[in-house]
């Protein structure tokens, strides 16, 4: 279980997180929604230790994430980045098998390649695409490679940062389905950040809305439409009028 308690983070005068409290149960899929620049990515990065919170506590299974063996902690995670964040100088399979080619999870090169090809197949890519370089792939294919890399070492927890941004609706649907299937079959805990409501309904067990630096509403995805929360209502219906100020 991941738990954030009163997490604050500011960049200069910009107070992005102003006391975030959130609980993600093991084996569930939590989607964090919210407008652009509301700190969704910062919250995820705080959990991973990529950004250090100014105050507050983040725990994983009851243990403070800032303490203990960092490698062992990170080995439990996989992450799909918004832009893929694939390494340009490495081929597709080397990107996917990155973790298996070095460090504590190191495997023989042939075995690592075999696992990478299998993971690529799982996300709908062909073995012959394993030797291409990221620059030779379309945006949708890069997302799939990023997804294959995120799941390659069979992590317990997977983070998805805007998995469908920049993709056409059909490819978005494919990625959403893949994310849902993979999370279900691996039994992993998933945290996704997005402002794509189709993704939310396809991926989420639970939803949390981040606004003004705090979790404005949280609950099961089935309760989202009847929440009665004016912020959430405005967001999920994409209305310009409401408590969330829209810059025109």
């Amino acid at each position: 279980m991941i738990e954030l308690s009163d997490v604050h983070k500011a960049f200069g005068d910009n107070h992005v997180l102003r006391g975030v409290d959130l609980r993600v149960e093991s084996g569930t899929s939590m989607v964090i929604i919210g407008g652009s620049g509301t700190g969704k990515s910062v919250a995820l990065k705080c959990i991973l230790g990529l950004v250090h919170p100014d105050s507050g506590i983040i725990t994983l299974d009851g243990r403070d994430v800032t303490k203990g063996d960092r490698d062992a902690f990170l080995a439990r995670f996989g992450m799909l980045f918004q832009g893929g964040a694939l390494f340009d100088s490495l081929s597709v399979w080397q990107n996917v098998a990155f973790r298996l080619l070095r460090g504590s999870l190191k495997r023989p090169r042939d075995e690592a390649r075999e696992i990478a090809v299998e993971k690529l197949r799982r996300v709908g890519l062909k073995p012959e695409q394993a030797d291409l370089f990221p620059a030779e792939l379309s945006g949708g294919m890069q997302k799939r490679v990023g997804l294959a890399r995120a799941i390659c070492a069979d992590p317990e927890i997977i983070f998805f940062d805007e998995p469908t941004t920049g993709l056409d609706p059909i490819m978005s649907g494919v990625i959403n389905d893949l994310v849902r299937e993979i999370v279900t079959e691996m039994g992993a805990t998933a945290m996704t950040i997005t402002h794509d409501m189709t993704s939310v309904r396809a991926i989420a067990d639970n939803v949390a809305m981040l606004h003004d630096g705090v979790i404005q509403w949280t609950g099961p995805v089935s309760g989202m439409d009847q929440s009665g929360d004016p912020y959430l209502d405005q967001f999920i219906h994409g209305r310009a009028d409401g408590p969330i100020e829209a810059v025109r």
Binding site: K45, L48, G49, L50, D71, L74, A75, F77, G78, M79, F81, Q82, G83, A85, L86, F87, D88, F98, R99, R102, G103, S104, L105, R149
Partner: protein
Amino acid sequence: MKLAFTLLAAVGRHVLAGLAMIGRVALFAAETVSHLMRPPFYAREFGHALVQIGWLSLPVVGLTALFTGGALALQIYAGGSRFNAETVVPSIVAIGLTRELGPVLGGLMVAARVASSIAAEIGTMKVTEQIDALTTLSTNPMKYLTLPRVLAATLAVPLLVGVGDVIGIMGGFLVGVGRLEFGAATYLHNTLDFLEAWDVISGLVKGAAFGFIVALMGCYYGMHSGRGAQGVGRATKSAVVASSVLILAANYILTEVFFSA
């Protein structure tokens, strides 16, 4: 009075910012070196950096040395003829190149080629979240990106300087024999007679220091790159400017040390 305080405050701000910057770079350098003592070591990355920084810089360093050696021979001849000292051309070319011009010009050329490319590469990795991705994949970016490049440059630049010395002396030889009517044997004899081992070694030591500076600045500015194309562009420019200025400053300090020794 108010104007004086405003000016003083502005000077103070810049001095503090400068000192903070020196502190950050020093900590970055210390962290880089500390990774040398702690496994893992990414040999593949090191080998790749060695080729990129050393082997692929050879043409530009070689050409720079060749033309510098030739020009130096002409200038020393022109100056020496005023004192009837034309015969010192071979030895001054050799000493000037090995002690000073070889390492400094070689270092500056490597700074232009390597610091910029390292800063642009790492800066782009930063803005496209590849550095964050490395961390989530349990790989320390300092260990994976910075250490191999800094180590490769520290080892490769002295080698480049050594090769540059030979090519530069060859440039002086070609001009001396072809244009200034020195005998080939006399030219080589004068070169070797007055050249001491320390002349070469001090230049190689400078080369190692300059290589360290170049790669360190490239990595530092890349890792601290701002967002977008403008951020990467600024990081690249800063890396080249900082490494060039630091090379010249370090050259003076090292020369002073060698001179006093």
